[in-house]
């Protein structure tokens, strides 16, 4: 496959940045998208150019490190992470636009790498449970209804990649925050902080400068883990409940 790549290049957070065009030949359709970028970078290094910086880690679709908005889609045209996207999803001769996540809460560090530590601070605000450490407790000591376990698991699938923020026209982190809130709020282990969790995580989400939800559904469409849009509805319900229960 022969491809034309238009890639966002930006030296550092303060530099202006622009799209740069590269021709890449000899791409196999069995390559993953990131392997294709590896090939591009090898060519750039041989030519003495600066390689394109991009985030990646497990390359198994489970860590949430890879990003990239490909032809306007977060994680590209398939519903998966960029590392699990293969070049067979593209045609020979295609022009592919590759951009970083765009949000004021996710500043570009270099090229396609953005700073997603805003998500870490949202987690720190309440995405944990208070539990005594030590040996693992007996698994059946705390019964969890099947429906609740399924609900928690559906939301626990969130890998915190930030595709929801990248896809949202408002740069909102509602789907991420709601996945984390719902995952713990439905479980007995998470119930001691049920109210403070949702209030604190939403407050932190706002403080990070993410936008608000306009229910466009772009986030749930882009999510590689299929977190449903109703996750946001469930968090709204939890937040309303918490504002009634907690007086501060």
């Amino acid at each position: 496959m022969k491809l034309t790549l238009r890639v966002w290049r930006q030296k550092n957070p303060d530099a202006p940045g622009a799209m740069a065009t590269y021709e890449l030949d000899g791409v196999s359709q069995d390559m993953s998208f990131l392997e294709m970028l590896d090939v591009l970078n090898e060519e750039l290094i041989v030519k003495g150019d600066e390689p394109v910086a991009f985030d990646h880690d497990c390359r198994e679709g489970i860590c949430g490190a890879c990003s990239l908005v490909i032809n306007g889609d977060a994680h590209g045209p398939e519903r998966t992470t960029t590392c699990q996207l293969h070049m067979r999803s593209f045609q020979d001769g295609d022009t592919i636009d590759i951009e970083p996540w765009r949000a004021s809460a996710f500043p570009v560090i270099k090229d396609l790498v953005v700073d997603r530590s805003a998500f870490d601070r949202v987690i720190q605000a309440g995405g944990y449970i208070t539990a005594p450490t030590g040996a693992a407790p007996e698994a059946h000591a705390t019964p969890v209804p099947k429906a609740d376990a399924d609900f928690a698991f559906e939301h626990a699938e969130c890998i915190g990649c930030g595709a929801c923020v990248a896809a949202c026209p408002n740069g909102a982190a509602m789907l991420f925050t709601s996945a984390k809130v719902n995952h713990l709020n439905v479980l007995p282990q998470g119930s001691p902080e049920r109210e403070t969790r949702v209030l604190d995580m939403v407050a932190q989400m706002d403080a990070e400068g993410f936008g608000g939800c306009t229910l466009t559904g772009e986030c749930a469409t882009a999510c590689p883990k299929g977190i449903p849009l109703f996750s946001i509805t469930a968090m709204n319900k939890e937040w309303l409940r918490a504002t009634r229960k907690v007086k501060r």
Binding site: G72, R102, P169, N170, G212, L215, T233, N236, K237
Partner: protein, 223 residues
Amino acid sequence: MALNFWQSTLGKKIVMGATGLIMIGYLCAHLLGNMKIFFGPGEFNAYGHWLRVMGAPVLHHEWGLWIARIVLLAAVVLHAVSAYQLSRRDIKARPQKYVHTKPRMSYATRTMRWGGVILGLFIVWHVLDLTTGTTHSGGFQEGHPYQNVVDTFSTWYGNVIYIVAMLAMGMHVRHGFWSAAQTLGAGNHTRDRALKAIANALAIVLTAGFISIPVGVMTGVVS
């Protein structure tokens, strides 16, 4: 507490959703009342008069009407202020646009902001036209709403403004009702089809119902 609520993006959005539902409720009542225009000037003008004595003898003359006006004005203002503040925030949250963009949202979703502005301007014109009579075409007659309505829809611009605004209202209600349900925490997988059906039904019935009035005047059914 109230301040914390309003400062949160979720709180503002909940205010927007709740006030939107109040306005949808009002639109339904307004449409039902307006349908009396098809039963002649006597019935329509009597309905207009009843609005002034609504709630009597408990309420003084026009008190019921003014209570409704104050509630509606508060709803419009809260709805618009929360929408404005949230929109400002949303635009700031994506300072750099994508080079490669494609429109994916439905038309109703994409036009919520400008559609809302159009509706705000329409409400101002509508009140000046048929409540105060300030911008009314021809002689505005207090107490003769039937004739005033016929006069408004006898002008081409009256029809154009009204019909465009009603189409905008229908789209706004279509996305707005469903969104309000999600914002207030009432949506889920099993209820979604019903909520979307109600949103579509509200949008179609309200739009078609209101547009039937200028169409009635234009076709001579109402004259």
